[in-house]
C-alpha cells in the first residue's frame, strides 16, 4: 500500500541511514590506529610532511570536542566539502562523481541488456516447467550468476581480441579525450551535443563490458522470474482466465506480468550494489576509467579522503536505490503490509 505516511517514513529512514554512514566513516578516521591527522593527510613522508599533517589537523579540528567534530563532518558532507584528494589534488566530490558516473553507465547498460533477455528466458521456461529447456536454462543461469566476472570478461575480451574487434579498452577513443558533457554518461552527452561519431565510438566500446557484466543479472533474474511467474500461474485469477479461454500470451502479459513487477524491482535494487562492485572488476579487465581504477590508485597513495568519499558516495547511492525499490514495490503490490 502506498501512502504519504509510508513515503515519509521511508524518506526519514533513508536520511537517517545516510547520516549513519557518514558518522561511521568519521569514527573510522577518528579511532584508526595512529594519528587521525596523519591518516587524513595520506601518511605523508619527506621534508614537507609536517606541513601536510598540520593542514589536516586544522581541517579536522582535532582540539574540539568529539560531538562538535561529528557535527562539522556531517555539515561538510551535506554542503559538498568532502576534502581534497591526496593523490590527484582535486576536490573529492568531483573525482568520485565523475568515476562513479562512468561505472554507473556500465551498470545501466548491462541492465538494459539483461532485463529483456531475462524476461524472455524466464517466461519461456516458466511456461515449460520440467522440460529439457527448463533444466538447460537453469544450469546456464547458475553458471552465469556463479562464475567470477573477471572470467566472463576475460573470455569475452580474448574472443573479441582474436576476432580483430578494434574498440577495446577506454571509454572513448583518445582523439575524443577532451569531450566533456553534463551528465557524465558519454553516450547521452554525445547525443545531446549532436556528436554522432563520439556516440558510435563510445557505444562500441561500452557494449562488450556491459555484455560481460550483464551475465550476472541475466542469471539471477531468469531464475527469480521463473519462480515468481510459476507461483503466479497457480493463482486463482490466472486459472480463471485460462478457463475462460483467453489467449495464453495475453494471460501472461495482462495477468501474470503485473504481479511480478514488485519482485523484479526489489531484486534490481538489491542487485545494484553487487553489480557496482562487479563493474569495477569488468572495468579493470577492459581498461576503462571508473570507480575501480580510482580506488586502486587511491590505495597506492594512502589517499584517505578519496576512499572515504568513494565509500560514502556509493553507500548513499545504494541506500537511495533500495528506498526507490521499496517504494516501487509498495506502488505495484498493494498487498504488502508495512
Amino acid at each position: 500500500m502506498l501512502s504519504l505516511n509510508y513515503l515519509l517514513k521511508r524518506f526519514f529512514a533513508s536520511l537517517f541511514l545516510i547520516l549513519g554512514t557518514i558518522v561511521i566513516t568519521f569514527l573510522l578516521i577518528n579511532f584508526a590506529p595512529g594519528d587521525p591527522a596523519l591518516v587524513w593527510a595520506g601518511k605523508p613522508r619527506g621534508p614537507q610532511a609536517s606541513i601536510a599533517i598540520e593542514k589536516a589537523r586544522e581541517y579536522l579540528g582535532l582540539d574540539l570536542p568529539l560531538y562538535t567534530r561529528i557535527a562539522i563532518h556531517v555539515y561538510r558532507f551535506f554542503t559538498g566539502d568532502w576534502g581534497t584528494s591526496v593523490q590527484f589534488k582535486l576536490p573529492v566530490l568531483n573525482l568520485v562523481a565523475r568515476s562513479f558516473m562512468a561505472s554507473l553507465e556500465l551498470v545501466v547498460y548491462s541492465f538494459i541488456i539483461a532485463i529483456p533477455i531475462a524476461l524472455w528466458l524466464g517466461t519461456t521456461v516458466a511456461l515449460r516447467r520440467g522440460s529439457y529447456i527448463d533444466r538447460l536454462v537453469y544450469y546456464i543461469s547458475v553458471v552465469f550468476a556463479g562464475s567470477p566476472r573477471f572470467m566472463v570478461a576475460g573470455i569475452l575480451y580474448l574472443i573479441l581480441y582474436l576476432s580483430g574487434y578494434s574498440f577495446l579498452g577506454l571509454r572513448t577513443s583518445p582523439s575524443y579525450a577532451t569531450f566533456r558533457g553534463l551528465t557524465g554518461f558519454i553516450t547521452i552527452d554525445s547525443i545531446i551535443s549532436g556528436r554522432i561519431d563520439v556516440f558510435v565510438d563510445s557505444l562500441l566500446r561500452l557494449l562488450p563490458p556491459a555484455l560481460a557484466l550483464s551475465t550476472y543479472p541475466i542469471g539471477v533474474l531468469t531464475r527469480v522470474i521463473r519462480v515468481s511467474l510459476s507461483e503466479t500461474f497457480e493463482e486463482e485469477y490466472v486459472r480463471q482466465a485460462i478457463s475462460l479461454g483467453i489467449d495464453r500470451k495475453s494471460i501472461v502479459r495482462r495477468y501474470a506480468y503485473p504481479n511480478i513487477i514488485s519482485v523484479v524491482a526489489q531484486l534490481i535494487g538489491l542487485m545494484f550494489s553487487y553489480l557496482l562492485l562487479e563493474a569495477m572488476v569488468v572495468e579493470n579487465v577492459f581498461v576503462r576509467e571508473g570507480l575501480g581504477n580510482l580506488v586502486s590508485r587511491a590505495i597506492v597513495a594512502s589517499d584517505f579522503p578519496l576512499l572515504i568519499g568513494a565509500t560514502v558516495f556509493t553507500a548513499i547511492v545504494l541506500i537511495i536505490t533500495n528506498t526507490l525499490a521499496d517504494v516501487i514495490q509498495a506502488i505495484t503490490n498493494p498487498r504488502v503490509q508495512i
Partner: protein
Amino acid sequence: MIRSIYVVVHDILSILSRTWRKRYSFRIASVAMTFVFLLAILGPHIAPYPRQGLGLDVDRSRALLPPSPEHLLGTDSFGRDLLSRILFALSRALYPSIVVAFVSLLLGIAIGSTATLLPKPIEISLSYLIELLLALPSVLLAALLAILMGGTLTSIVVALIVTWFPWYARIAYIQARNLKELDFVKLPLYYGLSKGYVIIKHIAPNILAPMLIEALSDMGSVVLEISTITFLFGIGITSIEEPDLGMMIAYSLRDLARAPWTFLAPSIVLATIAIVFTVFGEAIYEEHHPVLKKRWWLWF
C-alpha cells in the same frame, strides 16, 4: 549443552541425508565440495613443484609454456608450474573464507537472536544498525581498512565480516521472532529464567542448523569476493610471489592473448568453487527450508 549440540548435529545430518536421497545435483555438488576441501588440505603436499608453487623458484627461460605432461596446466610468466601454484593458492583461499563465514555466522546469530528479547527501542535501533552495515560496499570498506591496517589479509577478513554478518543477523532475527511466540520460549520466561539462558538453550539450537548450512554454502561467494578484492587492489598479500588466485588472474591478464591457459586455469577453478557451493545450497533450500527458500532476498 551436550544435548543441544546433539540436536543440532542430528538436524544437519537429517537435512543433508534427505536432500541426498532426492536430488541428483546435490550429490554431484557435495562430492565436488568434499573434493575441493581435500585438495585444499592436501594440496601443498601433493603439488609437483612445491618450491615453484610457493614462488621461491623462478625460471624465466621456461615462461608461458603450454600444458604438457611435465606441466599439466602449463607455466606462468615467471616460469612457475601453474598446477602447483593453484594447489597452494586453494588452501590460502579457503581458510580465510571459513573464518569469515563462521565468525559472521556466530556474530549474526548472537545479535539476531538477542535482539528479539531486548526492549523495543534497542531492538529497533539494532535493526537500523544492521540495515546501515548492509549498505556499506564491502570492496571499498576492505580498501579503507587496508590503508588503516597495512594491507594484510586481516583487513580483508575484517571488512568481509563487517559486511557479511548483517545478513545472518537478519535471517536469525526473522527466525527468532517467529520462535518468540511459541510456548517453549514463552514458558521459561514466565518462570523467571534469564533471557540469556533462554537464548542459548531454546532459541539458538533451533535456528542454528539451517544457518550453518547457509554459511557453508555462502563460503563459495566469500572465496569469490576475497579473490575479487585481491584481483582489483592487490591487497591482502605480502609479496607478489605468494600464491593467490586473484593475483594470479590479475597478472595473467597481461598475457591473455599469448597464453590464455594462465588466465583460464585459475579462473575455472574459482568458477567451479563458486558454482559448486551455490548448487549445494540451492538444492537444500528448494528441498527444505521455507525461510531460506526465497533465498534471492538474502543474496547480497
